[in-house]
Amino acid sequence: MTLSLRMRAAVLSVVLFLAFVAIWELAVISNSGGSGVTGMSAEYAALMGATAKGASAMPGPFTVGEEIWKHLSDPFYDAGPNDKGIGIQLGYSIARVFVGFVLAMLTAVPLGFLIGMSPLFYRALDPFIQLMKPVSPLAWMPLALYTIKDSTISSIFVIYICSVWPMLINTAFGVSGVRKEWLSVAKTLEVGQFRTAIRVILPAAAPTIMTGMRISISIAWLVIVAAEMLVGGTGIGYFVWNEWNNLSITNIIAAIFFIGMVGMLLDLGLAQMTKLVTYED
C-alpha cells in the first residue's frame, strides 16, 4: 500500500523534526562537560549561575519545550513592566502591526487606485515610490521618535511605512491591468465611474491587491520585532531583547518559536482572504 503524497510528506516532516531534536540534544550534552573557569570571584560566579561552572547557557530541546509549555499555560500574567506573559507581549506587537497595517491599507489602496487609473499620476509619483521603497523602515525610526516623541506611535509609524509600499504598488499594478474589454462593457452600459470602480475594477484587481497585503503583513511582522528591540517597553521584540540581557537563551528560543507561529497564522489568514476574492478566468 502506498500512502498519499500528503501523508508521506507529513511522515518525512516528523522524521526531520525528530532528527533535528536529537542532534540538538546530543550537541548540548557533549558541550556541558567543560571545566569551570578558575579564579573567578564567588560573587561573579553566583551572578553567572550555571555558566560559571563551565556549563553552556544553550538549553536542550526539552528545556525549551518545557519553557514553551510554561508560557502557553499562563500566557497573560502581568507581574510588572519587565515580567509579562508572552500572550500580552505578542498582543502588543500584533496590535501595533494591525494599526499600522490598517492605516497603510487606507492610504495605499485609494492612492494605488489613482495611480493605476491615471498614467499622469503614475509617472508623477513613480520617482518618489522608487526612492522610498528600498529604504529600510528602521531608518525612519529616529526621525519618527524626534517628530512624534512617542515610542508606541513611532513603532506604528514604522509599520505603516513598511506596509504601504507593497500594497500601493500591487494595487496600482492590479488596477492598471484590468482587462480593457471589461471596462468597455461598463462603458457601453453607461455605468458611472464610481460604480465601475466598485463593481468592475475592484473585484478584477482584488487578487493582486490581496497579494500586496500578504507581502505587507509579512514584512510588518518582520519589522515589528526589530522596532520593539529599539524602542523597548512592551512587545515581543522587547521581550527577546530583555531575555538577551537576562542571558535566558531558553526564553529567546521560545520567543523565536512564538514569533514564527504568529507570522505563519497572519499569512495563513490573509491567504484565506485572498482565496475568497480570487476568480477563475
Binding site: W182, K187, T188, E190
Partner: protein, 311 residues
Amino acid sequence: MSIDTQISVEDLKRTFPSPDGGEDVTVFEDIWFKVEKGEFVCLIGHSGCGKTTLLNILAGLDAPTSGGVIVDHEEVTGTSLDRAVVFQGHALMPWMSVMANIAFAVTSRHPDWSKENIQKHCQKYIDLVHLTGAENKKPSQLSGGMKQRVGIARAMAIEPKIMLLDEPFSALDALTRGSLQDELLSICYGTSQTVFMITHDIDEAMLLADKIVLMTNGPKAKVCEIVENTMPRDRTRANMHRHAHYYPIRNHLIEFLVNRSAQFEAELSSKDYDPRHPPVTRPGLTKPSAAVAQATDAPGGETETAVQALA
C-alpha cells in the same frame, strides 16, 4: 436620410500614429453606408482592414479621425445603452455568476427597478438563449458557446435599438457556431432587431445578413460594394444551400475575399466608383451560367448586375 435609416456612416476615416514615428497610418477612409431599421447587416473583410475599429466607433468606444456616424438622427459622440455590444471574447466578468453578469447590465438600464423585477427580466433572457439552469454558474464553469450565449443575453437584456456584434462566434467550434447562428437568427427576426455584425465567415454572413458590406484590405480600406442577400428570410442553415441564389452569392463573396479585396485600387480606375454610393449588387439574381463565369472572370465582371444605390 430616409425615415427608416437607423445608422448612417458618413465619410468615416480613422488614422493611427505610426509605430515607428513616421506618417500616420490610415486604417480606413471614405466609408459610407447605411443600415435600415430592423435590418441585419454583416461587414466582411480581411483582418487588418479596421473592422473592429469601425464597430468600436459605432459603439462610441472610439472616435473617428474625421467623418461621423449618425444613429436615429443624432451623431454618435459616446457610448449609449441604445447600442449594445457583443464582444469577440465574450467579456463576461469572471467573478460574477451568469445571472449577476446580466443583472449588472439590466441594473444599468433600469436603476430604479426592484431586485425581483431585475431577476425576472434577466431570467427571460437566460431562457431565451437556452441557459435555463445555469443562472448561478460562473463563466469559468461554462463552455465557450455558453459564454457567448450569456454575452448575447446580456446585450439583448437591455433591449437596445441596435446590436453590434464583433465576430461573436469566431472562437467557437463549427457545431456550436452553427447552433448559435440559428438561435441568433430566430431571436433577431422575431424581434425585428437592427443588427450590425462583423464576421469573416461567408456562410455566417449569408445565413444571417440582409445586406453584406464588403471592405477592401487595409491600410486605407474602403467599402468595395454592398451585396444584397436575395434569399428569403426564412432560410436556415439546413436548407440555405439548396436555394438557387446560394452559389451565385457565395461565389461572388469568395471571389471578393480571394481576389478583389486586394486589387481594389485597379478596379477603382476601371469604373466610376463613388465612395458616397458604393455599388449595390444582387449576385443571387444573375443567371447561374453567368455566376459560374463570374467566379473565373477578371475582377469587375459583375458590372451588369451592379445597381446604383438609390438612397
